[in-house]
């Protein structure tokens, strides 16, 4: 049954065309990724994380809008997700607050 639908009768075998990303979509995501790299190179991890999260949102939006062929979705999504998880933004103020908090706990005898 499937053969009836799929058989063309010819014996020529050609390589299937590789799927590709649309240039505007790929360029936009690549530019954002470049921005992440630049921010990291400049030592601004918080800006880099913000940009990476933006890249992730744009990636998800592109996937859900059908602008990323399925052959690329897993690789792209996992790479962006991994990148976001690797970029840590350590905020000094929060660390400071946490220190104060710990001190309070010590007063109540809860220790570290």
């Amino acid at each position: 049954m499937l053969c009836l639908a799929g058989c063309g009768g010819g014996s020529e075998r050609r390589a299937a065309p590789q799927p590709s990303l649309r240039q505007p979509v790929a360029a936009a995501l690549a530019s954002r990724s470049d921005e992440v790299a630049r921010a990291l190179s400049a030592g601004d991890a918080c800006q880099a994380r913000s940009l990476a999260l933006q890249l992730q949102r744009e990636t998800i939006a592109a996937i859900n809008a059908g602008r990323i062929p399925s052959a690329f979705q897993e690789q792209l999504g996992s790479t962006v997700g991994d990148m976001v998880s690797r970029i840590q933004c350590v905020q000094v103020e929060k660390e400071h607050d946490r220190g104060k908090h710990k001190g309070k706990h010590k007063k109540h005898g809860e220790g570290d």
Binding site: L2, P17, Q73, M83, R86
Partner: protein, 358 residues
């Protein structure tokens, strides 16, 4: 099903994966594309109903339009020996029905993935209608995939006559669905909310022994607040889940994305940084993997992909097989190289994106 070959020999059945009232699911090998697939064959007593058979295939074809990392991909559909079958992506792992009670730290990332898959389907105009733990498959790397899109719609009329089947799924039915009223995306959101409630508490929102009792409870009963059953659940998570379980669809989150947004915003999970991204769009499955060693599967998948490519190339170069009608398939796309640092990874991704664009 006595034959071990389906669709003129294209699919070679290896073993039975599961059997329900509606269908039998087999693990099979796609002899053309050299990959494992799951083949769902409609049960004989249903296959005899021509209307149902046609609807089953029609809905399956609609579902095949969906392409999303959190939705089980439908590859093919047809009939064999008078029984309709659907060929789907094989998802090694288990279902949420097999997971039992989970912590909110475990449940929220899974629920977010389910939201992403549902949102994709809703955007395409499809409502699942049967979101339940057994239809939420969790792959070995914790990627969740929603199964059986379209099946529920085809089964709707039939399963109403199958009491046991209905009771098995009724706990997750939205009130409007149980009442036989019009369903919408909000129906799936309720069902997912019910699944999340049960995963967190080990009991469904309503406990009942008959459909009539369920109906009465849904009309006039009150769902026990989540934290009354499981106090460890953070209040915002409880609020998000109870929002999804609103009796009136108008009072539920407006979309699966909105539900995801509420869940993500409510969660404070330090080991899952992506959850804090305040999801305004459905999240991608892989995004939640941040634990050390979580890339190991990528290497395994990559190695398997390379091996598969080698096998395919070998067969092509040898001219293996006489079936020249096999449709040529593109080679799998390799992931961007993982950089030693995040900056290197970002640059690699940029290069990869440009290299694959045209």
């Amino acid at each position: 099903m006595t034959e071990t070959l389906l669709a003129a020999g294209r699919y070679r059945v290896e073993r039975t994966l599961g059997q329900g009232g509606m269908a039998v699911v087999y693990l099979a090998h796609d002899e053309e594309l050299h990959r494992l697939v799951a083949v769902k064959v409609l049960a004989e007593h249903l296959a005899g109903d021509a209307n149902f058979r046609a609807r089953f295939l029609q809905e399956s074809k609609l579902a095949s339009r969906l392409s999303h990392p959190n939705v089980v991909q439908v590859y093919d559909a047809g009939e064999t020996e008078g029984s309709p079958f659907i060929v789907m992506e094989y998802v090694p792992g288990d279902t949420l029905a097999q997971r039992g009670k989970l912590t909110h730290a475990e449940v929220v990332p899974l629920a977010l993935q389910a939201c992403a898959g549902l949102q994709h389907a809703h955007n395409a105009g499809l409502v699942h209608r049967d979101v339940k733990p057994a239809n939420l498959l969790v792959r070995e790397d914790d990627v969740l995939k929603i199964a059986d899109f379209g099946i529920a719609r085809a089964a709707e009329l039939t399963r109403l006559t199958q009491h046991g089947t209905v009771l098995g799924t009724a706990a997750y039915l939205a009130p409007e669905q149980a009442a036989g009223e019009e369903v919408s995306a909000a129906t799936d959101i309720y069902s997912l909310g019910a699944v999340v409630y049960e995963l967190l508490t080990a009991r469904p929102p309503y406990e009942f022994e008959s459909l009539a009792e369920l109906g009465a409870q849904q009309r006039g009963g009150v769902i026990t607040p989540l934290r009354n059953v499981e106090p460890s659940v953070p209040e915002p998570v409880e609020a998000a889940v109870m929002h999804a379980l609103a009796r009136d669809p108008r009072f539920r989150p407006a979309s699966a994305s909105d539900f995801a947004h509420e869940l993500a915003s409510a969660s404070e999970l330090p080991t899952k940084p992506l959850i804090a991204t305040a999801v305004t769009e459905p999240l991608h499955a892989r995004g939640y993997r941040s634990l050390p060693g979580s890339r190991a599967w990528l290497w395994i998948v990559g190695a398997a992909a390379v091996a598969l490519v080698a096998v395919i190339l070998g067969l092509l170069s040898i001219g293996g097989g006489s079936n020249s009608s096999t449709k040529p398939q593109p080679l799998p796309i390799r992931s961007p190289a993982r950089g030693a640092t995040p900056a290197a990874e970002a640059r690699n991704l940029s290069v990869w994106l440009r290299a694959h664009s045209k």
